[in-house]
């Protein structure tokens, strides 16, 4: 067992699970999507990205790409949220929540691909 692999897998999985936890629920209901979980998802996604940087293999590059996509989606969601909370006149409604959640769902897809790649990579190793 390799500690580095454990940490790597842990953060990739955690990024996906936190992202899933945030997206899970009624996409239009602000009560179903908590800001703390969103924050945790962003932080863990950043850590996962840093862990993926520096892999010079083809699959490593793809890993990094999925993480960058996830971060981009989550940051977009965060900016939408910020806009609604501070700059727009209306309160957080169904329309905004759907926008935020769908952006986060895109990040979830990227994170899930990353998890699938991790599994494929592990099964390809014969040890």
């Amino acid at each position: 067992m390799n500690l580095e692999k454990v940490v790597f897998g842990f953060f990739i999985l955690l990024a996906a699970t936190l992202n899933f936890g945030f997206v899970y629920g009624d996409p239009g209901d602000p009560e179903h999507h908590h800001v703390y979980e969103f924050f945790a998802a962003i932080v863990v996604n950043f850590i996962a990205t840093v862990l993926k940087v520096g892999e010079s293999t083809q699959i490593g590059a793809l890993h990094l790409a999925t993480s960058l996509v996830a971060i981009l989606q989550l940051c977009a969601a965060a900016i939408v949220w910020f806009w609604v909370a501070y700059e727009s006149q209306d309160a957080l409604g169904v329309r905004h929540t759907v926008a935020i959640v769908s952006l986060a769902a895109g990040a979830l897809l990227a994170n899930l691909i990353s998890v699938v790649m991790l599994i494929i990579e592990t099964t390809l190793q014969r040890r």
Binding site: V35, Y36, F39, V43, F46, I47, V50, L51, V53, G54, E55, S56, T57, Q58, A61, F82, A85, Y86
Partner: protein, 578 residues
């Protein structure tokens, strides 16, 4: 993904500090959001994620705009104190790692190697790869640069690679400091690029040269290899797999020595034409016939003894080591300290005509030469100089012939590199007699002065001399060789150049051809002359109008308008006459 390997290496090292920093920010933001705050009117409130991130961003980077959006509670201030220390430590860790990475030898090497690879990839002009950038390499680099080629230099010693940038040349060479025995390095140096004109293996290590020659043969057989070899065994191996040119400085010197004894004029011409750019014609020197003493019986001594024996001269060998048993030549042998007066006397220096100071050490060689001349001032001295650093001492001593291996290799390489026809011409020089060579030297010296002339080949093909080739195919009038030497700005004047050789097909080339020689398509002519003459001649070869003026004396107008005007004038002239 090999493109930015150093970047990846860099990023990997920064993982830990970046993760620490992300964690510090996350903990700090979370704390600020969780700790109860008060709004401007004193009501209980909580800080939003956005404000927490904003506050931490300017506080952690020690910019510090103050407590925003409202004055903090004491509980918040306590947490902010903790966060400030954590974040400053986090940033310090990141910056310290960055600085140590910039000082990291392996990483800077990797970055440098990557930069070189990129430079080579962008190199599209014709270039040579020079392996071994010692004295020979530096000399050849100058010659390659002079000929207008680029150069990729590989040497084990990083200090030598740094010196490349200090040389004042038209184009700087790309320097790689690495072991040439690693074939990957040759590929990095551009071995597989189509612009690669040749590989020169010139290190002091025979085995390394062999490795280079072999690697080139296997990796890119189309590229010619020129390899230096100091032992007959290496030469044989290199010949076995078809190395294009093998230069053994000692054997070459032996051959030169024989030539100088048989035909001093030929030797003089040969060394002048193969000289480095800017060298001047030496006075004629002729090693005398009689008893010779050879000090130092190494690789060099052996070659000298062989060539002296070819000239049937009595030889006495002096060496510190006892005589080898196997294959021992029938010559006198004195074993003893070579710089010792007694040893030299017992070798019969008093009635010798010449001495060869040929040990592997410059100081010993000079000591031998000085001692020998104090005993017998009329001695003809051949001095072997190993290092260029000894040049001032050698100059001060004034030997009859100074043998510098690096220069001999450089001369050989330059002769091969300059133009393939030169090698054929030199073969002719070696086969002709002394008087012929003296006449050639006198002719060239009278026309061009004593500085080593520029040498170039003119091929009368559609590609290299389109104007002349078209004329030869379409016009009835022949072109004589002398007409190529006419000045394009005044056809009655002659350019400072002399044709040395005309080669037609595979037939024996014609040396020192007659000026009235009639040229044909696809002939190749070797010229010696000045750079200005070469450039002027190029106009005649390429430009149809210049060619017509030079060959017929007619000022032919260029362009349709002038042509039309000229035709009109001709018609009017005709009308007036009739």
């Amino acid at each position: 993904m090999t493109m930015s390997t150093p970047l990846f290496l860099f990023a990997r090292q920064l993982r830990a500090p970046l993760i620490v920093l992300i964690a510090v920010y996350a903990i700090g933001i979370l704390g600020l959001v969780l700790i109860p705050a008060r709004d401007s009117s004193g009501n209980a409130a909580s800080m939003s994620f956005f404000h927490a991130f904003y506050f931490l961003s300017y506080t952690a980077t020690t910019i510090g705009y103050g407590e925003l959006p409202n004055a903090f509670t004491d509980a918040q201030r306590l947490w902010v104190t903790v966060v400030i220390y954590m974040s400053v430590l986090g940033w310090a860790y990141l910056i310290a790692t960055l600085i140590s990475l910039l000082h990291d030898r392996a990483l800077t090497e990797a970055i440098k190697a990557e930069r070189v690879r990129r430079e080579v990839r962008r190199l599209h002009e014709p270039f040579f790869i020079v392996c071994g950038f010692g004295e020979t390499g530096t000399l050849i680099h100058h010659a390659i640069d002079h000929a207008g080629y680029r150069c990729v230099a590989v040497d084990v010693d990083p200090a030598r690679v740094v010196e490349i940038d200090l040389a004042h040349l038209k184009a700087t060479a790309i320097g790689i400091s690495a072991d040439v025995r690693n074939p990957g390095i040759l590929i990095d140096a551009g071995l597989k690029k189509p612009a690669c004109q040749g590989v020169l293996a010139l290190t002091n290590d025979d085995h390394a040269n062999l490795a280079v020659a072999l690697a080139v043969r296997l990796l890119n057989p189309a590229v010619p290899v020129l390899a230096r070899s100091q032992s007959p065994a290496t030469t044989a191996t290199m010949q076995a797999f078809g190395t294009d040119h093998i230069v053994n400085p000692f054997a070459t010197f032996g051959a030169y020595l024989s030539l100088a004894m048989q035909s001093p004029g030929s030797y003089r011409l040969l060394s002048w034409l193969t000289g480095l750019p800017g060298t001047t014609l030496d006075a004629e020197t002729c090693p005398p016939r009689g008893r010779w003493i050879v000090c130092g019986y190494g690789q060099f001594g052996r070659e000298v003894v062989d060539s002296l024996r070819r000239e049937v001269m009595p030889i006495c060998i002096v060496d510190a080591a006892p005589a080898p048993d196997a294959g021992w030549p029938t010559a006198e042998y004195v074993c003893g300290p070579v710089t010792d007066r007694g040893t030299l006397l017992s070798a019969g220096i008093a009635d010798a005509v010449g001495i060869v100071a040929g040990t592997g050490d410059d100081v010993t060689n000079l000591a031998i030469a000085i001692t020998a001349r104090t005993i017998n001032p009329r001695l003809y001295v051949i001095l072997r100089q190993r290092l260029r650093a000894s040049q001032p001492l050698t100059d001060a001593y004034d030997a009859d012939i100074v043998m510098v291996a690096s220069e001999i290799v450089a001369h050989e390489c330059i002769a091969v590199l300059r133009t393939p026809l030169l090698a054929r011409y030199l073969a002719v020089v070696r086969s002709r007699d002394d008087a012929w060579a003296d006449a050639v030297v006198a002719r060239l010296e009278g026309c061009l002065g004593t500085v080593t002339p520029e040498l170039w080949t003119v091929r009368l093909t559609d590609k290299e001399a389109p104007a002349i080739a078209t004329w030869l195919r379409t016009e009835a009038a022949k072109i004589r060789l002398s007409e190529l030497s006419r000045d394009p700005s005044d056809r009655d004047a002659t350019l400072d150049c002399v044709p040395l050789l005309v080669a037609r097909d595979q037939a024996d080339p014609l040396a020192m051809p007659d000026p009235a020689f009639e040229l044909a398509c696809d002939d190749a002519v070797l010229f010696a002359g000045t750079l200005a003459a070469r450039n002027a001649q190029a106009q005649t070869l390429v430009n149809i109008n210049v060619r017509d003026y030079v060959l017929s004396g007619r000022e032919v107008p260029g362009g349709h308008v002038w042509e039309w005007l000229a035709n009109r004038r001709d018609r009017r002239g005709l009308a007036v006459h009739t």
